[in-house]
């Protein structure tokens, strides 16, 4: 039956239908008072309510602050040691006791934060930039470059990290964080590159990218405006979690004697020197190891919380 033949009450033209839809606060429940919300602001709103995020965020904030200004919570120098107090336990003014060289464990733990955080952050930034640049381009353009990059990542994945560190870093003489950071970027980028490549390939297939292409958008516009903002989430999540592992990798390398060496102050170095006295003076190991564990855990938890907030499937 044709609508034209229907009774007056049913015979509603589409124009009327549309005016109703135009009225704000229609049956959709998106009222006029509601502010426009981007996915990022939604994610932020979620994160603010998530206790895991709040706790790990505060821990990380604290760690970052003391790595920049360790003087805020300790007035001593980590290198001011008194051999006569070696291995002594907790005493007033020195709550964590002394290490094998008679240095204050508390102060050394506080100062150790700086190296851990800076190695972690620098390595992550480097890995994320290099990895997402290479992976993103490979995913976007495909072809021979992509094949070569994929094989290259396979080769890098095959290198055992610790063994590679022992070999490569043992020839380095500079006692700064740069060789360690460089080594991590060298071995770390394939992980991010793989994620970025996959993410870009999935995003690239979306109709909105096709739509922009059909409008005549340039490749740089497609990449910057359409693909990057939609493909970046998994990279952020993986990079945050990886940050924790880089911090523990730095400690591992320093423990093995190929990372940073004394007189630099690092949790890895302290753990290494404390391990010889684990029976007599376990406190020497406990504090730097505890700080390391808390830091790594905080970053992994942060990564988890960020993933939950950015995961579109829960949306």
């Amino acid at each position: 039956m044709a609508p034209t033949g229907m009774g007056g009450t049913m015979d509603l033209g589409s124009s009327e239908a549309e005016t109703l839809e135009k009225t704000p606060g229609g049956p959709e429940g998106t009222g006029p008072r509601e502010k426009p919300r981007s996915l990022w602001s939604d994610a932020w709103r979620d994160l603010r309510r998530n206790p895991v995020f709040i706790i790990s965020g505060l821990v990380i904030l604290f760690l970052v602050v003391i790595s920049i200004w360790p003087g805020l919570i300790t007035s001593q120098s980590p290198l001011q040691c008194d051999l006569s107090k070696a291995q002594q336990g907790s005493q007033p003014g020195h709550p964590f006791g002394y290490d094998g060289q008679g240095c204050d464990v508390y102060t050394r733990t506080v100062y150790g934060t700086r190296i851990s955080i800076s190695v972690g952050v620098l390595a992550t930034v480097g890995v994320a930039l290099l990895g997402s640049f290479l992976g993103g381009l490979a995913g976007f353009y495909g072809g021979l470059g992509d094949s070569i990059l994929s094989r290259a990542t396979d080769i890098f994945f095959a290198i055992p990290v610790v063994l590679g560190g022992l070999v490569l870093l043992s020839v380095v003489t500079s006692n700064t964080i740069w060789p360690v950071v460089g080594f991590m970027i060298l071995l770390g980028w394939p992980q991010i590159s793989r994620i970025a490549r996959g993410s870009v390939i999935t995003t690239k297939e979306n109709d909105y990218v096709q739509a922009a292409r059909a409008l005549g958008a340039s490749n740089s516009r497609l990449m910057l405006r359409h693909i990057t903002p939609n493909a970046v989430a998994p990279v952020i999540v993986v990079a945050t979690i990886a940050l924790g592992t880089y911090i523990s990798l730095e400690a591992t390398l320093s423990y093995l004697g190929v990372g940073l060496k004394p007189p630099r102050v690092s949790w890895g170095i302290d753990i290494s020197s404390a391990s010889a006295y684990i029976r007599q003076a376990p406190h020497m190991l406990l504090w730097p190891a505890g700080a390391l564990a808390i830091t790594v855990l905080a970053f992994i938890m942060l990564g988890d919380a960020v993933r939950d907030a950015l995961d579109p499937k829960l949306r």
């Binding site: 039956m1 589409s14 704000p24 959709e28 109709d207 909105y208 096709q210 059909a214 516009r221």
Partner: protein, 353 residues
């Protein structure tokens, strides 16, 4: 002037798209091809709607992508006002793109979730800045929102704050922004709820009249295609097997595939259950990587004979209908074309729906 009236807006001939099948990791060797589109011809006039129907995998979406230059044809030409757009690049291509726009199927993936509605609809102006001066764009975007039946105040919202039907309207507004002459719509309503489909179809109808648009309307739903199209092409395995005006195709089909397709459509009328003849096809559509010889429909056709294996039927008016003015006299690629009415004619009383 007379030239413009007779010359079709869009003329597609011999369009072919083959995707190579390759083996090997670094050094790829071609071992075959998926023949997604395998020789398609059609034309589109000013203000006309051409419907293309077919089942999944028949190549209709690939045709759409080639029309808007998202895919490069392997062979053939697409002439827009006499100029082959498949050979264009750079500025000339960009200029043509302004005039041929696309509306996508899935309103959930066709809008960038990180952009506001205003940015999405305004993006065409960023890419083609000559169309609208900067200061004028916001007003134009709001006008477009109004045209497609959305509140212009929604300009700062994000796509996920809208329902499917509203998102499809946003997609349509984006397609209209550059004032194109041709809109290629690939299944524009199939992802929407039934009650919302009608709203969007009516909108497309209204916009066609208002902006003098020509549509290439691609869909699998035969009823919707009939509703909106002036002419219809039926595709099967990368080719058009029958084409003609809507009455010719729906009321006087001569190709067995069209007949089977029409008879398989469930009609919302339980009375029709009894008096409808249903042609149930056997088997599935063959793989486009391995197309049967001769007539590509022969493996499922109840009329197939030896000739169908040997000889490819051409898309032309079958000999027996060439004399006279019968509505059966339209292009049909079948050696044994024969008129058969499968859709019961409309009851004159307009009886029960």
């Amino acid at each position: 002037m007379t030239q413009a009236a007779t010359e079709p807006l869009l003329e597609v001939s011999g369009l072919v798209k083959h995707y190579p099948l390759t083996q090997g990791i670094l050094f790829k060797k071609q071992i075959g091809a998926v023949k997604a589109v395998d020789g398609v011809d059609f034309h589109l006039g000013h203000g006309e709607t051409l419907g293309i129907v077919g089942e999944s995998g028949c190549g209709k979406s690939t045709v759409a992508k080639m029309l808007v230059n998202l895919e490069k044809p392997t062979e053939g030409s697409i002439k827009y006002k006499g100029e082959d757009i498949t050979r264009l690049s750079g500025k000339a291509l960009k200029a043509v793109r302004r005039n041929i726009q696309m509306v996508f199927q899935d309103p959930y993936t066709s809008l960038n979730p990180r952009m506001t509605v205003g940015d999405i609809i305004g993006e065409p102006y960023d890419i083609h800045p000559e169309v609208a001066p900067k200061g004028d764009r916001r007003r134009r975007v709001q006008d477009l929102l109004d045209v497609v039946g959305l509140n212009p105040e929604y300009i700062n919202r994000y796509p996920h704050q809208f329902s499917g039907g509203q998102r499809q309207r946003i997609g349509i507004a984006r397609g209209l922004a550059l004032r194109p002459e041709i809109i290629v719509a690939d299944e524009p309503v199939s992802a929407l709820d039934v009650s919302v489909q009608a709203q969007v179809i009516n909108l497309l109808d209204r916009l066609q009249a208002e902006f003098n648009l020509s549509y290439v309307f691609i869909a699998h739903d035969l009823s919707i295609v009939r509703h909106i199209s002036d002419r219809v092409g039926v595709m099967y395995l990368g080719r058009i097997v029958e084409t003609g005006r809507d009455v010719e195709i729906y009321d006087h089909p001569t190709h067995p595939y069209t007949q089977a397709l029409l008879s398989a459509v469930p009609v919302p009328d339980p009375e029709a259950r009894e008096h409808r003849e249903r042609i149930i096809l056997h088997g599935d559509v063959p793989s486009p990587a391995n197309i049967p010889s001769g007539c590509r429909f022969r493996t499922r056709c109840w009329k197939a004979q030896e000739r169908c294996t040997l000889e490819v039927p051409l898309l032309a008016v079958p000999a027996e209908f060439r004399i006279g003015d019968s509505p059966a006299a339209h292009d049909s690629a079948c050696h044994f074309a024969e008129e058969k009415q499968v859709v019961p004619p409309e009851e004159p009383s307009g009886g029960a729906a």
